[in-house]
């Protein structure tokens, strides 16, 4: 069986190899801090395997995460000058290789597709070939490895350090934004253990006037939106707002259609994801990947859509669900 952990190890070793390169990179004024950040991230990816199956304590990993937060948060990481080719060289190479260049690039989505549709159903000796529930991770992982092999052969590139270096400069430009989504998952868990949801429920039930279903819908949808903006993640907002408003007010008090209320409520939260800098993986990471001067570019492009869709969700819920 092909396991997701194998690819987490691969990503971990990728980060560690890049950290080694970073440490040797004299063009980076903060090379030690940068190497420490990515080295810890890589080591964390590997160590996590034992945390997940509970054979190693989670506390050292937590301490490492906080060290990474400090390294990146206090500006101790930086980036080197990328050794790359000139735009003219790339233009010439594009003309020479032509549309064959798309073959390895399209290998990733095609392999991901094959894994999700075909390989998912394959069994060998009664066991599924791909680990159940991890098909997206595996599709992306297998696709990337195959694409890299195809690309290296096709372009007759023999040095493995070339793709490593090219990928590294993208990682350096993302910097701390890489860690934020994983940190937010933690925040959601801490909030629920500490009882934040219960407090929000008390406040909303005292503020919300009895009897108006429409106000309940507005409170639920806008609550999901705002909490998602704060938490960076609709999944963390959902249990809080559903326990506070969605279930007690809309489903029980106003006899709403539960699947409709909850599905649309979650989507109202997704509108919040479109506008929050906290959702780094959807907003800051793409801005870094696309080399935008303004890291808020994607958020600005999404903002009108997000507010219109929040209105749509309120309308859909109040017309069809309650």
């Amino acid at each position: 069986m092909i396991k997701a952990e194998w690819f987490f190890w691969l990503v971990g070793s990728l980060f560690l190899a890049m950290a080694a390169q970073m440490l040797a990179d004299r063009t980076n004024p903060r090379r030690v801090g940068t190497a420490a950040f990515w080295g810890l991230l890589g080591a964390g990816f590997v160590y996590s395997t034992w945390v997940v199956d509970k054979t190693a304590p989670a506390e050292p990993l937590g301490a490492a995460v906080l060290v990474m937060v400090c390294l990146a948060g206090f500006g101790l990481t930086g980036r080197g000058t990328a050794r790359t080719v000139t735009p003219e060289q790339r233009e010439a190479s594009a003309r020479r290789h032509g549309s064959r260049l798309f073959v390895p690039a399209l290998t990733i989505p095609v392999v991901a597709l094959i894994c999700a549709v075909g390989v998912k159903k394959l069994h060998v000796g009664g066991e599924p070939v791909l680990q159940k529930g991890s098909e997206t991770v595996l599709g992306l992982g297998i696709g990337s490895v195959v694409a890299l092999a195809v690309g290296m052969v096709m372009l007759r590139e023999r040095r493995p350090s070339t793709p490593l270096h090219a990928g590294r400069s993208m990682l350096e430009s993302m910097g701390w934004a890489m860690l934020l989504p994983q940190l937010l998952a933690t925040l959601g868990a801490i909030f629920s253990v500490a009882g934040v949801g219960e407090q929000v429920r008390r406040i909303t039930t005292t503020v919300l006037p009895d009897g108006s279903a429409f106000l309940g819908v507005v409170a639920y949808c806008c609550g999901m939106f705002l909490f998602t903006v704060v938490m960076g993640n609709a999944f963390a907002a959902f249990p809080v707002l559903t326990a506070a408003v969605g279930w007690p007010v809309l489903v029980e008090q106003h006899h709403g259609n539960a699947p409709a209320v909850l599905a649309v409520g979650m989507l109202a939260g997704f509108c919040g994801t479109l506008v929050t800098p906290m959702a780094a993986n959807y907003n800051f990471v793409p801005a870094a990947l696309l080399e935008l001067k303004d890291p808020y570019g994607p958020i600005k492009a999404q903002m009108p859509t997000a507010f219109i869709l929040l209105g749509c969700n309120i309308a859909i819920m109040s017309v069809f669900a309650v």
């Binding site: 506390e59 906080l66 998952a185 933690t186 934040v196 999944f235 279930w247 696309l290 859509t305």
Partner: protein
């Protein structure tokens, strides 16, 4: 009430534009301690949170091959290819991308498209190429706009497509939470069906905004004819 200080820390951190990583780190530690967790428990929470959420960082695995291909001119080729399709403007191309992203996500094919594997190497340069063919060389501002909209097409398509699929994380989170908390039985299928109205709204709203991008770019163009007079 004290635990709500965490929410306040996030809001203040944002308003003063602190590094989000620090804001979230401080909020997590403060909320955990105020909520009565021991320092050891807080550390363990950070550790398990990191370990169980590694899947969001898996896209890093695509970067070496994307970087390699870009060295050999992938973006330039994407830009050249798009100019062969005369009717495909930047707006129309991105609206098409939005539709494809939404359909594949609705079929549960989340990994097929994405910022690292398709937006940066293919969709963004293609949209730029199409815009340049129609409007001439882009200003810095216009280029940023086209790229930002390319990222937005991926996000909107993904968010409002994935919930139409039954077995996606958010649907399973809803049924998991509600079924265990309220002892009821919700069918994932009915939740997925109720995601369709919003999915259609998203396609219409963002699709129209993407199509209008062409007009915005036309207006933003430096007025060359006027300068020549």
């Amino acid at each position: 009430m004290l635990v709500l200080l965490g929410v306040l820390v996030v809001v203040v951190g944002f308003a003063t534009r602190r590094n989000p990583l620090l804001v979230v780190g401080v909020t997590g530690v403060a909320t955990g301690l105020l909520g009565g967790l021991s320092p050891q428990k807080v550390l363990a929470a950070f550790g398990t949170g990191f370990a169980s959420s590694r899947a969001v960082t898996i896209f890093a695995i695509t970067l070496p091959v994307i970087g390699l291909l870009e060295r050999y001119g992938l973006q330039e080729q994407a830009r050249r290819l798009i100019t062969r399709f005369a009717g495909l403007t930047a707006g129309r191309f991105l609206a098409l991308y939005l539709l494809l992203r939404q359909i594949t996500a609705a079929l549960g094919l989340n990994g097929v498209f994405g910022h690292a594997q398709t937006v940066r190497p293919l969709a963004a340069p293609m949209a730029e190429g199409a815009a340049e063919r129609r409007h001439g060389p882009l200003t810095e501002k216009a280029r940023e706009k086209v790229r930002s909209f390319a990222a937005s097409a991926d996000n909107v398509g993904f968010f409002f497509g994935e919930d139409v699929f039954l077995a996606v994380g958010s649907i399973l989170l809803i049924t998991g939470f509600v079924n265990t908390t309220y002892h009821t039985h919700l069918e994932p299928l009915r939740l997925a069906l109720w995601a369709i109205p919003t999915a259609l709204c998203a396609l219409a709203v963002h699709g129209c905004r993407l199509l209008r991008l062409d007009r915005t770019l036309e207006h933003a163009k430096p007025d060359l004819a006027g300068a020549a007079k």
